[in-house]
Amino acid sequence: MAGTRITVVLSQAAGKHPGKRALEEAIVAALLGRPEYEVAVVPNLYDLTPEHTGLMFLQAVSGDLIVLSWLYPRAAFWILDRHGIKGHQGQTRLRAEQAEEEVEADNEKTDTSDRPAGIGPGGEIPDRCIYTLDLRDADRAEPFIAEIERIAAECRQRRQRHAPPQPPGRHATTPVLLSLGLAFQDNGTTNLNGLHNHATHSADFVASSFTAQALLAPTGRRWYPVIDYSRCTNCLECLDFCLFGVYGVDAWQRIVVENPDQCKKGCPACSRVCPQQAIMFPEYKSPAIAGADIGAAGGLKIDLSRLFGGEDGDALSLAVAERDRELINAGRAAVGMSVGIPKRQAHKQPGQPKDELDKLVDDLDNLQL
């Protein structure tokens, strides 16, 4: 049996949510000591900068990869892609339990035939799969462990079918635990931390430069768009619309997020003008912009934004207002509708497809509070 180890990376939630931390710890604890998994814990994937050890570790993984994060699977997959961590998108069967019926009903009625094919990821796609799992899909570790085991079996079968027999000497024998940074400075006596020490002394600790501490070095919060190239048609509307130089094109004239850190914190305007909803802001509160597949249940919390003063309006006016605000904040003049307005949207039906949560939020807006 091929002994290729599968790498499981857990991307932590930003903030101090006790329930989220507990789930993270439970999942890592369940994977400990199992030779078929290489486990690493990194801070919130979206916040990682190219210099962060966590990202360098991910880039060094060449085999199949499972990434668990508090992000929509689509968002996590394309964040990795942007950092050159490429592979075929593995299909997860994990779905928010409540959403199962809706998902099935949705599969029947969703008509994607009018969606043009995206340009696809750039460069060469290595022969491996990347599975991105959303930690919001269940509140216990067991469903995640079951799904990780199912994926691992799927990967083994795929390797056996496609690859020549493995050369000898590549058997996974000892658990390799690169990082179990779930224990924090103020909590250094947990079980997890103890196990981490054990792992560090393991003879098979291959990547000594990737220490738990380095992998979990604190990050600042970041804010930038993430492009889903399976949807992007390279229409360049975002390049025209954004006036902060975030977007550019590469040597093949493909749209890229060239200067992510020039993006204006909190502003999702370009996402609203994208005709294919290919631009995600993974931390934005609206599920459609954060990368939810339409029809999937988003968070499990009520959204009080309308009660607390959030605005509503059509996507384009919102985007223009957001952009003007950022221009003024940057000491520049507002441009309103005069610059970079998407041509294609002019003759489009009003009302982008909205998901369930967006509709509910709209209902709240009708309260006129």
Binding site: E97, I302, F308, N329
Partner: protein, 157 residues
């Protein structure tokens, strides 16, 4: 001077101190010198959200804001929400303690759990009686829509 009011939310009585001004987005406003006012969540807002887990500002101190501009994000035990500027002006300072420990909002929403200071014209804010009426007018619909959301999401109380 009245001693403030209580708004009844189910069995919970949300206190609304009389000496504060109020905003329609469920923030209170303590008038300060030179137009620099302090803002925080009312007990009504905190009761809807429950335990605050995560608070983040999406602008920096010193920036100009326009009324209803999205300036932050909050995640609590029961809810998530954008946070919006209660009035137009200049954001002077954020409460750093509350960023370190958002639980202060639950402990003392009218005191140590204050959110930020903003310089601007507060004449549009509401008196306690006006805010009470605003809550009263919206309460039934608020309950109905929150219940609808909860049912859709399969959340359990």
């Amino acid at each position: 001077m009245s001693s403030g009011r209580f708004f009844l939310m189910g069995k919970y009585q949300a206190p609304l101190p009389a000496e504060l001004r109020y905003c329609r987005n469920h923030m209170w406003c303590r008038l300060g010198d030179q137009g620099v006012h302090t803002f925080g969540f009312t007990s009504y807002a905190v009761r809807l959200m429950r335990d605050v887990y995560f608070l983040e500002w999406r602008i920096d101190a010193g920036q100009r804001v326009t009324a209803r501009q999205e300036i932050g994000f909050i995640e609590t035990q029961k809810a998530t929400s954008g946070l919006y500027a209660p009035l137009t002006g200049e954001l002077i300072a954020f409460n750093h303690e509350v960023l370190q420990d958002p639980g202060l909002i639950n402990v003392d929403c009218y005191g140590t759990g204050w959110l930020f200071q903003l310089r601007g014209d507060a004449t549009e804010t509401l008196s306690v009686d006006e805010y009470y009426k605003h809550l009263e007018a919206g309460w039934e619909n608020t309950q109905r829509l929150i219940k609808a959301q909860i049912n859709k999401l399969g959340l359990e109380e």
